[in-house]
Amino acid sequence: MKKLRIALIGASLMTLVACSTTNPNGADVTDGAATDANGGAVNGVVAGGAGDADNFGGNNNGNVKAMQVGNQSYYFDFNKYDVHSDDVSSINVQAGYLATHNKGHILLAGNTDERGSREYNIALGNKRAQSVAQQLKAGGINDSQITSVSYGAEKPAAIGHDESAWSKNRRVDLTYQTPITLDKK
């Protein structure tokens, strides 16, 4: 069973490489002056290309699907960052794949529910991503295969203001990146 899955992944990996180079999604960023600092007149707002961000393979792209290896979202208790024991086997499946594909690279995105302090939630999401990374590394994969980011409460998976939404938002999402298209500057 496991062997079959990996073979399938291999195929989709190839597709991803082919597509993701052709269609980078540019993040739209402008910045400019608001005003003089002394309570005075408005200067013209300078809209400039502060940067064209690259997205991860296929994330916002209708024609490319991010690669899937089993379950890639792991959930956490409120204000906690230890991995649920029933997620360990799913994470080990990822580790098994990545250990045998040492050019494979993943993004671990830590998230929290909406409650509490925003920057504390960034730290909490970071700790959650770290917990998953540690589990993966215990499975034999390299540090260099993992990039972690925490979005705190800023990118909820479920919109809602009760435990059913919150429990879906306290998560780490594992995404395969092929190729690695982080900030190149």
């Binding site: 600092a37 002394n38 309570g39 925003r118 920057e119």
Partner: protein
């Protein structure tokens, strides 16, 4: 009081009609009572007939003082006299109408500019004919498009005369406006006047923007931007828009906080594993790690004397606020009340801190006196976060998500007054009050 609030709301909505969309004001609601209020009459100034126009000087002054919650305004429609010159003021009439003070003035058109005169008068002294009834009197010549800014300045003069505390009406606020759409989100870092008028974007992105922090000289903004997927801390010149990335390490680059002299930035990095507090020297970009261990350490904030940093840490289990003395490296826990205290920052005098405090699952804003350790909860919405003191220490600006729309909350530091600024344009996050700007 209720009628007056309704009036105020009406004038705000009416004002919107005269404003181009880019200048649209935030809508204001007063949510908590009013403290002992000073009775005052703001007489409509001569030369400006449209009371609700955004550049109506007397109208703006009235709104400012009203918003502070510390004044009881006489209804203009009840004024049987409307003098514009000091010699025309009948103090007996204003006393009988229940006022302690009267503000009068005039606006005269001088081409592209306007001449504005105002006087703040003491009704008791005027009635006693003691000769010192004029508490403040000034004449200004300003460009027509600065009338609103001048009105805020006059509000500051009046506020300081009558309360002994410097006014904050001519200051600004920064906040992140988030517009969530099915096609994706839009994040706009805005700067607006303290009353929510004149919002102007410093940065627009389709990825999160967080934690704007004003330099103490008011010219620069530090913030976190995820515009290239991974977070970076930028410092942007508020005037020119020029910016540079100062921190782009692996992991967290978060929670920037300026030292009192603006020479250093405290920040949070997780480049060595755990979220830790670092201090960056902004002239050399050199970096010093100031906390260690496996805990979460985040949300640094400098003491006004620059000698210590308070921060949030879960080293004792849940989030609590600790104080690091920089010279000795000694760390001391400051909060013991409740199981969630976070995002602490100092008052200007260093005597108290404001923070997020959780009780029974509700997140409110609390102020703790550092001498007595007494903690007072000053907001009661249950979804409040990101507090910071106004530069005069009398008010706290925070984000309130009551009703599940992010709005700006402004509460008096004693918890007696609260009001709310909201917008139909999106959710407001992470507000920060500017320092005094002039």
């Amino acid at each position: 009081m209720r009628l007056r609030l309704t009036l105020l709301a009406t004038s705000f909505i009416a004002a919107l009609a005269f404003q181009p969309v880019a200048n649209a004001a935030l809508d204001l609601t007063v949510t908590q009572g009013v403290s002992s209020a000073l009775p005052i009459a703001i007489v409509p100034f001569s030369g400006q007939s449209n009371w609700q126009a955004p550049n109506n000087v007397a109208g703006v002054i009235m709104a400012d003082l009203q918003n502070s919650g510390q004044f009881k305004m006489m209804d203009t429609s009840a004024m049987q006299q409307q003098p514009h010159a000091v010699q025309d003021v009948n103090y007996g009439y204003w006393r009988k109408a229940g006022n302690d003070n009267v503000v009068i003035g005039s606006v005269s058109d001088t081409g592209n500019n306007s001449q504005v005169r105002f006087a703040l008068l003491d009704v008791f002294k005027g009635q006693a004919q003691s000769g010192n009834q004029v508490l403040a009197q000034q004449t200004f010549n300003v460009a027509d498009n600065k009338l609103r800014a001048l009105a805020h300045h006059i509000s500051d003069i009046i506020y300081q005369q009558l309360t002994g505390v410097r006014g904050i009406f001519a200051t600004r606020i920064a906040y992140v406006l988030v517009q969530r759409n099915p096609s994706g989100s839009r994040y706009i870092l805005n700067i607006a006047d303290a009353d929510g008028y004149n919002p102007r974007p410093l940065l627009t992105s389709n990825q999160p923007i967080m934690s704007p922090a004003w330099s103490h000289d008011g010219t620069r903004m530090a913030y976190v931007s995820f515009e290239k997927v991974l977070p970076k801390i930028f410092i942007q010149n508020v005037v020119t828009g020029t910016r540079r990335a100062v921190s782009a390490f692996p992991g967290i680059n978060g929670a920037p906080a300026w030292s009192p002299d603006d020479s250093k930035l405290a920040l949070v990095l997780s480049k060595n594993g755990n979220p830790k507090i670092y201090v960056m020297n902004l002239s050399s970009d050199s970096l010093q790690q100031v906390t260690s261990g496996v805990s979460i350490d985040t949300e640094p904030s400098w003491s006004p004397d620059g000698k210590s940093i308070i921060f949030t840490s879960d080293r004792g289990g849940g989030p609590q606020i600790y104080q690091l003395t920089l010279a000795s490296g000694k760390i001391q826990r400051l909060t013991f009340n409740g199981d969630y205290n976070a995002r602490g920052s100092f008052s200007v005098d260093g005597q108290s801190i404001v923070m997020i405090h959780r009780t029974n699952g509700n997140y409110n804003i609390a102020v703790q006196d550092l001498q007595s350790s007494a903690l007072q909860i000053i907001t009661h919405d249950g979804w409040d976060t990101s507090p910071s003191f106004a530069p005069n220490g009398r008010f706290v600006l925070y984000e309130s998500d009551a009703g599940h729309q992010g709005v700006l909350g402004i509460a008096s530091s004693d918890g007696r007054i609260a009001r709310r600024l909201s917008t139909q344009d999106g959710n407001i996050q992470d507000p920060a009050w500017s320092p005094f700007l002039s």
